[in-house]
Amino acid sequence: MSDLIYTEGLKKYFKTPSGMLHAVDDINLRIPEGKTLGVVGESGCGKSTLGRTIIRLINATEGKVYFEGQDINTFDKKQLKHFRKDAQMIFQDPYSSINPRMSVAQIIAEPMIVCKTEKDSKAREHKVKELMDIVGLAPRFYNAYPHELDGGRRQRIGVARALALNPKFIVCDEPVSALDVSIQAQILNLLMDLQEERNLAYMFITHDLSVVKHISQRIMVMYLGECIEQSETDELYENPLHPYTKALLDAIPIPEIGAKKQQNIIKGEVKSPIDPAPGCRFAPRCPYAKPECLQGKIKEVEVSPNHKVSCILYY
């Protein structure tokens, strides 16, 4: 299967007063057409930065991102504008991600005006109504303003705006984490239906392991800017390898009585991603940590086909 998008050693560092912040560090991933890659991790692990770097909302520090075989970091203005039509983003916060001074119709039409895909205003209006129908927004909201709508409907506007340019790839940055469970399910269903109809590829960023299992075919677990485990979804949940992945899975509360008796709760908290020490970044919290963990970079090991893990336990 052809990969729509893949990266090679992608890095994004930020200069801060206290040192270099390693937000994304040496990430290699691939997303085939029409498939979903879930990116999981706790706050501050760099997953949102990764999502923004991969569609060049922010420029990478190092490494390459190939979209349909071309490195997007070498694109000039014109190529970039073309790439923008193919790669879109859905944001986390349904409140700050849409302009409060624009009406629903204006918000959805904006990308078409900017990219000049629908120059005729009648055709644009038609397209906006069609998109509203696709994402399940009633026509009566055509002229409504965002503050009149609830979070779920606002998120639908965000989805419609992302679809306006007929993209092939959408980065979904925690699109449901600000929503209530029943609304969350509605949006997840919508995203999955759209993927089937339009053969969309998603990069689904979330901290919620139940949601990511539901929607993705492949999952990447991130910790402090690094990818520590990558695998097909079912394999990852049945056979997690990295101690951090295990701890994450153990920590999810399961809505069943006595679903698990006494889980292993990892101690401590996420360390700072500023100038990290060499070696495994999870080592300070890891129950299996050995002195070797802190000596040099941890190599990625392909334990079974398509299941990669970065941990010395599997050398």
Partner: protein, 325 residues
Amino acid sequence: MDDEKLLDIKGLYTQYDTDDDVVYSVNNLTLSLSKGRTLGLVGETGAGKTTTCLSILRLLPDKIGKITAGEIYFDGKNLIELPEEEMRQIRGNDIAMIFQDPLSSLNPVYTVGMQIGEALKYHGIYKNEKEIDKRVEEMLELVGLPKERKNDYPHQFSGGMKQRVVIAMALACEPKLLLADEPTTALDVTIQAQVLRLMNDLKEHLNTSMILVTHDLGIVAETCEDVAVMYAGSIIEKGSAEDIFNGDKHHPYTVGLFASIPNLKVKTRRLKPIDGLMPDPANLPKGCTFSPRCPHCMDICKTEEPPCVMMGGEHMIKCHLFTSK
């Protein structure tokens, strides 16, 4: 019922008077909690969970929020009739509350030690500075923080540690009842697991009763003995955790809530969410408030408020579907 009821709320109504309309936030809520038990109060945004907690503490926003009817018995006293002075003694001392956002519940210009000591000083349990200081150190160690950190300021703590400090503050006076309003929503899963375990341990250790407000059914299953499901200001189903998670009869809303969460164990292609939205609390539907979204809606549901049907034991469902039985 042999064990004593610590908290007994009967027919509580709370409303907010805003500029344009009256928001009916809590409607005819009846709820009780025995000593040493944990009740999970489950519901979505706007269901009135937080308002219920604020009503118990009588901390509703001035002039806007008010309790219009009902009784709240705590330890035999009706809190609604208590003068403000006595209420102030109960807050913090007998009933403590933990808020969702640890960031905004700590004052950035005081050390955490001073903030934990504040409540102790106010309620006059410990007389001299030395005793208070000792108690503060004790509390910090209890929540798993080194006692030397009492001289640190909130910004020097991470989110999970701040929530620990907040818990230490709440528990410093050994309250009989702890109201925890989404205490872990702002935290990461691994930290959430740590905090939940801590709260569970402390509750057993101190024999505190707790109302845990949450939208996460997983957390409820792990920590609560009793569960109450809230919708549009009233309890639509309550019972033991066993009844709610393993029982076979449920309110249609509870069914919908369970179907909305992706299950880690069962592979489903599509989730089955509840159609529609929460009703506007300023404009609640007549009869059953869930009727416009209910797949089993009958004619009677649109006109009459359903009665509370007891399903055996403590299990109660407020739905017309079960009245014929």
